[in-house]
C-alpha cells in the first residue's frame, strides 16, 4: 500500500508513464496469468513477466490513465510529476489496473489552475436556484448508484475489505441524497427576520463564501471526500479538494461520476498529490475563502491556519475521525457542515410611505 515516489529527475530506467507500461504489455485478464512482481531494494516494482505465452488468446487489457479533475476536464499535473499507488492488490482482481498505477502529483500551479476554475464556476453555481442545485446533486447520487461496482472495486484496491467498501459506497450515495434534499431547506433554517427597534425591515440570509479548499482525510477515501465536499457545494460554494494520499485513485473514479453528472465543470475540482506539499498553497491563495483540512500532522495544521491568516481565511483544521465516525449520520453530516462555509448577510430597509 506504500506510494512509490518518483521525481522527474529519477534515472530513466525508473521512470514510468502509461506508454512504457503498455509497451510492457501486462498479460491477460485472468488471475491465473497474472503478472509477477518483484520488489527491488530501491522500492520500485519491476514487471518480470510481461507476457504469458501459454495464453496467447487472452485479450490484452486497456489500462486507464488516472488524471486529476480540473474545470470539468481530466488533466495530468502541469509539473509532469506523478506518484505510484498499488493497482490490483491480488491476482483475483479482474479490473483494468496493472499492479501499480501512476497518479498525478499535483503542484502549486495545479492548485492555482483549479482555484481559477472554481472561481470561474462560482458565479453561475451560487446563482442557481436552490431547487436546481438540489436536482443536480440528486443526479450525482443516481450516477454513483449506477457506478457502484466500480467505486467499490476501487476502494477494495485501496485496501478496504469488500464488505467495508460496499458499505462505504452505500453511505456515500446516501449522503449525497441527504445534501441534495437539503439544498432548498438550510436557507430557511439559518435565515432570520430581525425585529429591530425602529421603522426598518431587517433580515439576514445565508450566502456562500466563495471557493473553498478541502484537504480530504486519507480514509475513508470516498466517504471522506463526499462528506466534506457535498455540504460545501450544497451551500452554493465551489470547491478544490486534495484527495487523500492513501487511495487517490478512488477520488479519480469518483471524479468520473462528477463528470458524467450534471454538476457544471469547475464546481468540484479534485487534485491528487501530497498534503504536506500542497496544503499551504491552498492556505496562501487569496481567492480561496475558506479551508476544511483533515490532517494528522499538527505542524501542518498549524501552518495551514497560520498562512490562511494573511487573507483572513475561514480555516478549520481537524484531526481525521475514525472510519466509523464518518459513517455516523450524527457526526459526519448535518446543517452545521453546510453552515460552516456560509456567510450571513443582513439587509436593512426603511418601512414607510
Amino acid at each position: 500500500m506504500e506510494n512509490k515516489e518518483a521525481s522527474r529527475k529519477a534515472p530513466r530506467g525508473f521512470e514510468r508513464d502509461e506508454t512504457s507500461e503498455s509497451a510492457l504489455g501486462t498479460s491477460g485478464a485472468s488471475g491465473a496469468s497474472g503478472v509477477e512482481v518483484e520488489h527491488t531494494s530501491s522500492g520500485d516494482i519491476l514487471l518480470m513477466k510481461p507476457y504469458d505465452s501459454a495464453n496467447v488468446d487472452a485479450r490484452v487489457r486497456v489500462n486507464k490513465a488516472y488524471k486529476m479533475f480540473i474545470g470539468g476536464a481530466f488533466v495530468r499535473s502541469e509539473s509532469g510529476r506523478y506518484f505510484q499507488v498499488e493497482g490490483a492488490p491480488s491476482e483475483e482482481d479482474l479490473g483494468a489496473d496493472p499492479a501499480t498505477v501512476n497518479v498525478p502529483r499535483g503542484s502549486r500551479k495545479d492548485v492555482r489552475d483549479a482555484v481559477l476554475a472554481a472561481r470561474s464556476a462560482l458565479v453561475s453555481w451560487e446563482r442557481r436556484t436552490a431547487y436546481n442545485r438540489g436536482q443536480i446533486l440528486y443526479r450525482l447520487a443516481e450516477v454513483m448508484e449506477s457506478r457502484r461496482p466500480e467505486l467499490t472495486q476501487s476502494l477494495v484496491r485501496g485496501g478496504e475489505t469488500p464488505a467495508e467498501a460496499a458499505s462505504q459506497v452505500n453511505v456515500s450515495i446516501d449522503r449525497v441524497v441527504f445534501y441534495a434534499g437539503f439544498a432548498d431547506k438550510f436557507f430557511a433554517l439559518l435565515a432570520s427576520s430581525n425585529p429591530v427597534a425602529g421603522p426598518h425591515f431587517n433580515f439576514s440570509v445565508p450566502e456562500p463564501m466563495g471557493t473553498i479548499g478541502v484537504i480530504a482525510p486519507d480514509r475513508p477515501a470516498l466517504l471522506g471526500l463526499v462528506s466534506t465536499i457535498l455540504p460545501i457545494i450544497t451551500g452554493g460554494n465551489t470547491c478544490v479538494a486534495l484527495a487523500g494520499e492513501r487511495d487517490p485513485r478512488t477520488s479519480i473514479v469518483w471524479s468520473e461520476c462528477l463528470a458524467t453528472s450534471d454538476i457544471p465543470g469547475g464546481v468540484v475540482n479534485i487534485l491528487t498529490g501530497h498534503a504536506n506539499e500542497l496544503a499551504v498553497h491552498f492556505a496562501k491563495h487569496r481567492e480561496v475563502a475558506g479551508i476544511d483540512a483533515w490532517m494528522v500532522d499538527p505542524n501542518l495544521r498549524r501552518a495551514v491556519e497560520s498562512e490562511g491568516a494573511d487573507s483572513v481565511k475561514r480555516v478549520t483544521t481537524r484531526v481525521p475521525m475514525d472510519a466509523e465516525a464518518w459513517s455516523n449520520e450524527r457526526k459526519a453530516q448535518g446543517l452545521g457542515w453546510i453552515e460552516r462555509f456560509l456567510e450571513t448577510k443582513t439587509i436593512w430597509h426603511p418601512v414607510g410611505v
Binding site: 430581525n194 475563502a289 498549524r302 483572513v312 448535518g334 452545521g336 448577510k345 436593512w348 430597509h349
Partner: protein, 504 residues
C-alpha cells in the same frame, strides 16, 4: 464655547476649488453653545484593574494617562496591565467559569445580565458624558446612539441565556470557557457591550481589554458589574496597550478570542493563535461603498451620505467611505453635499449642537492627514467643510475628494476619519464591480427608489451588512459582521450566539 476658533484645517490648500461654491450662511448659522454639564460625573484620578471582582494595583506597577482628545487634558491615570496581570485575570475568569458561571441556570445568568442592562440605563447620561470626554464623540451621538444600544445589547442577550437550546434546533450546544476580548476606541462602551453580553449569555466568562485611548467607560462598566454583584471573576477588565492585548490573545487558558479593530492586527492575532484550537471571531476594517442611483431620493441620499461617513468623525469600520454615484447625478450630489456640509458644526463633544467631534487621538489624526495628503498628491480634488477648528485638541473637518480613481489610496485604504472618496458609475453592474473591488466586505449602502434594484444590488454586493435607503443602523437583534478581510463571525441576533458557543 470653551475653545477659540481661529485656525482652519483647510487653510494650506484652499478648501473650495470647484466651480460650485458652497452655501455661506454667514452669521445666520451662529448658535449659542449648549454644553452638557459634566459636574455630576465622577472620574477617579487613578484606576486599577478589575480582576476577580476586586480593584487591584497592576503587578506591572505602571499607569498611563487617558486624555480628552478635544482639550488634550488628562482625565485619569489607568493601569497598564502586563502579561502577569493578564494571567491573573484569566485565572480569575477560569475559576469563575468552573465555580459559578458554567453551573448556573441560564435563567439566573439572565437576571444578572438584565441587571447590567438596567444599571446602564440608570447611569446612561453619566456614561455618555464620559464617553464623549474620553473619546471625542459628540454628546448627541453617545447619548442617543451608543448608550441606548449598549443597554439594548445587554437586555437582548440577557433573554437568550435560558433559551439557547431554541437557537440551534436539533443541535447540541456548549459554552466555550474563558473569552478574551479586545475592543477598539471608536465605540468604547458599545463594543464592550457587543462583546460581554453574548459571551455571558452563552455561559462564558470574560477578560476584556478596552482600547488604550478610551478605557474609562469600560472601567465604569466594571463598577456597574461590581454593583450588580456578579460572581467574582465572571467579568474582568484589564487596561493597557497592544502588548496587553497580545498577552490576552495568546494566553493558553483563553478558549475564545474576540477582536474588533484593524485588519492588520486581526491578521496578526489569527496568525498568532494558529494551531491552538482557540475559537476566533474578528470584526475588522472596511471600505464600504455607498451607492447612489440617479433614481434615488436625492436629498435623503445626501443625508445618508453625511451620516454614512461623518457619523462619529468617520471612526466607523462600516463607514460609507466610498461614495459611488451614478454619473448623471454626480454634479448635483456634490453640490448638495457641500451645502449640507456647510451646516455641520464641529466643536466641543459635550456641546449638544455639535455634529462632528474631535478625532480620537493624535496618532489617528496623523493617519488621516497622511492619507488626505496622498489624495492630494494623486491629483484628486479635495473639499473640506468650512468649519472653524478649535485651537486645542485633535480635529479634522468633514472632507471629500472628487476625481479619484479606483486605484487611489484614498479609494482603497481605510482612512477611519471624516474623509469621503467620490467615484462614479454608469450601470448597476459597474457599481457592483467597483463596490466589490476591495479586500474588505463589511457593509454597503444602496440608494434607489426601485425595490427590485435594491434586491439586485443587495444580492450581488459582497458585504455582511447592506443598508437600502439608509445607512449606519445598528440593533442587537441584527447580525453584524464582515465578508472577506473584514473578518468572520457575527455579533448580534441569533447568528451572533454561534461565536460564543460550541454547536455540534
Amino acid at each position: 464655547m470653551a475653545h477659540t476658533m481661529t485656525k482652519r484645517e483647510g487653510e494650506a490648500a484652499p478648501p473650495s476649488r470647484g466651480a460650485i461654491v458652497a452655501l455661506d450662511f454667514g452669521k445666520a448659522w451662529d448658535y449659542a453653545a449648549a454644553p452638557e454639564s459634566p459636574d455630576h460625573v465622577s472620574i477617579d484620578p487613578k484606576y486599577g484593574l478589575f480582576i476577580g471582582g476586586r480593584w487591584v494595583t497592576p503587578r506591572s506597577g505602571r499607569f498611563f494617562p487617558t486624555i480628552n482628545p478635544s482639550t488634550e487634558e488628562v482625565l485619569a491615570e489607568v493601569a497598564d496591565a502586563n502579561a502577569q496581570d493578564v494571567d491573573d485575570a484569566v485565572r480569575a475568569a477560569r475559576e469563575a467559569y468552573d465555580k459559578y458561571w458554567s453551573r448556573m441556570r441560564g435563567a439566573d445568568r439572565a437576571k444578572y445580565i438584565f441587571r447590567i442592562a438596567r444599571a446602564i440605563q440608570e447611569k446612561a447620561r453619566e456614561l455618555a458624558i464620559v464617553e464623549s470626554m474620553d473619546g471625542g464623540k459628540p454628546i448627541k451621538e453617545s447619548r442617543d446612539i451608543d448608550l441606548p444600544l449598549a443597554a439594548a445589547h445587554f437586555f437582548y442577550h440577557a433573554g437568550w441565556a435560558d433559551k439557547l437550546d431554541y437557537a440551534f434546533h436539533g443541535r447540541r450546544i456548549r459554552s466555550l470557557g474563558v473569552a478574551g476580548q479586545i475592543i477598539p476606541w471608536n465605540f468604547p462602551l458599545l463594543m464592550a457591550a457587543w462583546k460581554i453580553a453574548p459571551a455571558l449569555a452563552c455561559g462564558n466568562t470574560v477578560v476584556l481589554k478596552p482600547a488604550e485611548t478610551t478605557p474609562l467607560t469600560a472601567l465604569l462598566l466594571a463598577k456597574i458589574i461590581e454593583e450588580a454583584e456578579l460572581p467574582p471573576g465572571v467579568v474582568n477588565i484589564v487596561t493597557g496597550g497592544g502588548e496587553t492585548g497580545a498577552a490576552l490573545a495568546i494566553h493558553p487558558d483563553v478558549n475564545k478570542v474576540a477582536f474588533t479593530g484593524s485588519t492588520s492586527v486581526g491578521k496578526r492575532i489569527q496568525r498568532a493563535i494558529a494551531g491552538t484550537h482557540k475559537r476566533l471571531s474578528l470584526e475588522l476594517g472596511g471600505k464600504a461603498a455607498n451607492i447612489v442611483f440617479a433614481d434615488a431620493p436625492i436629498d435623503q441620499a445626501v443625508d445618508g451620505i453625511v451620516n454614512g461617513i461623518y457619523f462619529n468623525q468617520g471612526h466607523v469600520c462600516c463607514a460609507g467611505s466610498r461614495l459611488l454615484v451614478e454619473e448623471s447625478v454626480h454634479d448635483v450630489i456634490v453640490k448638495k453635499l457641500r451645502d449640507r456640509m456647510a451646516t455641520l458644526r464641529m466643536g466641543s463633544p459635550l456641546d449638544k449642537n455639535t455634529d462632528v467631534g474631535a478625532i480620537n487621538s493624535k496618532a489617528q489624526l496623523a493617519r488621516i492627514r497622511e492619507l488626505v495628503a496622498a489624495g492630494e498628491e494623486e491629483g484628486c480634488e479635495r473639499y473640506s467643510a468650512p468649519c472653524p477648528v478649535p485651537e486645542k485638541g485633535y480635529w479634522f473637518p468633514p472632507t471629500f475628494f472628487t476625481g479619484a480613481s479606483m486605484s487611489s489610496r484614498i479609494a482603497r485604504e481605510e482612512i477611519f476619519g471624516p474623509v469621503l472618496t467620490i467615484l462614479t458609475f454608469r450601470t448597476p453592474d459597474e457599481a457592483v464591480e467597483k463596490a466589490n473591488n476591495t479586500s474588505y466586505g463589511l457593509s454597503a449602502g444602496v440608494w434607489t427608489d426601485k425595490g427590485a434594484k435594491i434586491f439586485y444590488m443587495a444580492t450581488k454586493l459582497k458585504a455582511g451588512v447592506i443598508w437600502g435607503n439608509t445607512f449606519n443602523k445598528f440593533d442587537p437583534t441584527s447580525p453584524f459582521g464582515g465578508y472577506k478581510e473584514s473578518g468572520f463571525g457575527r455579533e448580534g441576533g441569533r447568528q451572533g450566539l454561534a461565536a460564543y458557543l460550541g454547536v455540534e
